[in-house]
């Protein structure tokens, strides 16, 4: 709280620019304080719809998820609403389950590898498409098509292509003399396969946001740089990447949140198997709740809340980075 105030004062005072100086100098002291108060009210007013929206639509589900995880909700208790309070037992069960560590490891691999590739490929493509060549707009638009497909369709298509015996990918590899790879049915490859499919799905997201970020970097910065004789790589390193930093951070953070939650694609391609070799925490949670004939909402909610905690931890990192950026 204190910090934001200092920041607003600082921003006004430090602005070197004539316009800002006029803003500070012109009004008398009274109007200035009046304005800052009215600004504060305006800030609340502009944010009010969002706050109302959040309270109306998220508070209940969030509370529900916590409540589910602290009770023992058998299907019977779920319908009759008389679940026994068990404290943190569900969390203890989850943490001591033999699925937990493999699932955590798979989640880490799935998230880190997916995001790294999505971001790097998305950024490379964004930089490439910024060069405004013939058809660039249309081609960029076409890159979004994978996102228009219902997940059941894209995930099914991937499992189709990766089928060990009659998939197109093994068929192509076979033409180069590579033997049959059991993409979806061997413990070594299952996780790799779902990661590849997930990267494919995530590229449009990264491309769009990063491209839009590039658009906001004024062209004259580059013009000045190219006059100075900077190479394309130097321009990227010295201008594009640093100026894109806020957008990059938010892209990575959002990517992280969405990737942590991914269920459908893994479920459709491998159901988390074989064994638990491609089971992530989110898939595990889904399986407990809906993947068996016996819905087990409480452990599912506990796993879901663990995921929220993981995301929160990265949220703190984000805030920290943001603060550092403001200070610099």
């Amino acid at each position: 709280m204190k910090m934001t105030q200092t920041r607003s004062v600082g921003a006004g005072a430090a602005a070197p620019d004539g316009v800002a100086a006029r803003a500070v100098a012109a009004p008398s002291g009274r109007t200035a304080s009046h304005r800052s108060r009215s600004t504060r009210w305006a800030a609340v007013g502009f944010a009010a719809p969002l706050v109302v929206y959040l309270v109306a639509f998220y508070a209940f589900p969030l509370w529900r998820n916590i409540e589910l995880s602290l009770h023992d909700y058998t299907p019977r208790a779920f319908v009759q609403g008389n679940a026994e309070f068990v404290g943190l037992d569900n969390y203890a069960d989850v943490l001591s389950s033999r699925t937990f560590w493999p699932a955590l490891r798979n989640t880490a691999l799935f998230v880190v590898v997916s995001i790294a590739f999505q971001y790097v490929l998305g950024l490379a493509l964004a930089v490439f498409f910024r060069q405004n060549f013939r058809l660039s707009g249309v081609l960029r638009g076409m890159f979004l098509i994978p996102w228009l497909l219902p997940l059941i369709v894209s995930a099914s298509t991937w499992s189709w292509m990766l089928n060990s015996d009659n998939g197109i990918i093994n068929s192509v590899l076979g033409a180069f003399g590579v033997g049959q790879v059991n993409w979806l049915t061997s413990p070594e490859w299952a996780l790799v396969s779902v990661i590849v499919a997930n990267i494919w799905l995530g590229i449009p997201f990264n491309l769009v946001i990063l491209y839009s970020g590039l658009q906001n970097i004024p062209g004259d910065v580059y013009e000045a740089a190219s006059l100075d004789g900077a190479s394309a790589w130097q321009q990227f390193r010295k201008i594009t990447f640093p100026l894109l930093r806020p957008v990059s951070i938010i892209t990575l953070l959002l990517g992280l949140i969405y990737t942590l939650k991914v269920v459908d694609i893994i479920w459709i391609m491998t159901t988390g198997g074989p064994g638990s070799s491609s089971t992530t925490l989110a898939v595990w949670s889904y399986r407990e709740a809906f993947g068996t004939g016996q819905p087990d909402f409480s452990p599912a909610a506990a796993v879901g809340n663990l995921l929220i905690l993981i995301a929160l931890a990265f949220g703190f990192v984000y805030l920290h980075l943001q603060r550092r950026q403001e200070q610099s």
């Binding site: 800002a20 304005r35 800030a43 769009v208 805030l319």
Partner: protein, 272 residues
């Protein structure tokens, strides 16, 4: 930059796009394949013996659902922007008290599993009589996009030079007018980006539709697909055909929107 446009860049672009869209080609391929050929080994690169049965099914049954999806998608975009844009302005430019906390809440909000959200809406909608309505689905779908849009728009709006908004204030504009006639036009790119995502998410939503709108008169296309998934049989060519047909209007919309983004480079907006 516009002076010479080397052809090899276009060629490279076409190559990347083709690589990216190969799975989509495969989907089209399957949509035209007879059930008996679907699992042939080795697979057919091309539907030599095409069947249009899937497309016939889609054109007979699925077109109205396409319209519903479009309506829900556009509704979600509008609702998302109405809620998110002012809030982002407040967070980015007006130093909202408790802004950090709000940011945090937005992060948490996005982590709530869709299924839990759907259960919550089910309970609320039963009481409000909003089950099986398009409006109910628009509101539910927007919950996926709003936190994202706020975070995204905030990030972009932080990049708007303060001089710009302060100049407007000095010229006597109130916060509302500054927002409306300075901040919004400058943020056009990021607004379009946020809209794209809001649209895409609602377009591909299945979980809300299946929980909240199962027996409405207006069902979206993702539910329409389930007509082809029986408990023991699956009509792949119809499913894939639905996906192909469904992606065409949306793809056109995307390409147009993308061109719009390209046309409205910020430099132009900042100048006036």
């Amino acid at each position: 930059m516009n002076g010479h446009r080397p052809w090899w860049k276009t060629a490279l672009g076409v190559f990347f796009t083709a690589l990216m869209l190969f799975p989509v080609y495969w989907m089209v391929n399957v949509s035209l394949t007879e059930t008996g050929d679907m699992r042939s080994d080795p697979p057919h690169w091309f539907p030599w013996n095409p069947t249009l049965e899937g497309y016939r099914n889609v054109l007979d049954h699925q077109l109205p659902h396409l319209g519903t999806s479009m309506l829900i998608g556009l509704g979600t975009v509008v609702l998302t922007l109405v809620v998110a844009a002012p809030a982002a302005y407040s967070l980015a430019q007006l130093n909202l008290r408790g802004g950090k906390t709000l940011n945090f809440v937005l992060l948490v909000a996005q982590m709530i599993p869709g299924v839990i959200m759907a259960m919550g809406f089910y309970a609320i909608y039963i009481k409000l009589g909003l089950l099986n309505t398009v409006w109910g689905l628009i509101v539910a779908d927007s919950t996926v996009a709003v936190p994202f849009a706020v975070l995204l728009l905030t990030t972009f709006m932080q990049g708007i030079p303060r001089e710009l908004t302060q100049a407007a204030t000095v010229d006597g504009a109130g916060t509302w007018r500054t927002f409306w006639s300075v901040v919004l036009p400058v943020s056009r790119n990021s607004m379009i980006t946020a809209s794209l995502f809001a649209f895409l998410w609602s377009w591909s939503d299945f979980i809300f539709a299946s929980t909240l709108n199962r027996n409405g008169d207006l069902i979206p296309i993702t539910l329409g697909i389930y007509k082809y998934i029986g408990n023991n049989t699956t009509q792949w060519n119809s499913i894939m055909a639905t996906a192909v047909v469904a992606s065409i209007p949306a793809a056109v919309l995307l390409v147009v929107a993308q061109r719009y983004v390209a046309a409205g480079v910020t430099a132009g907006a900042v100048k006036d």
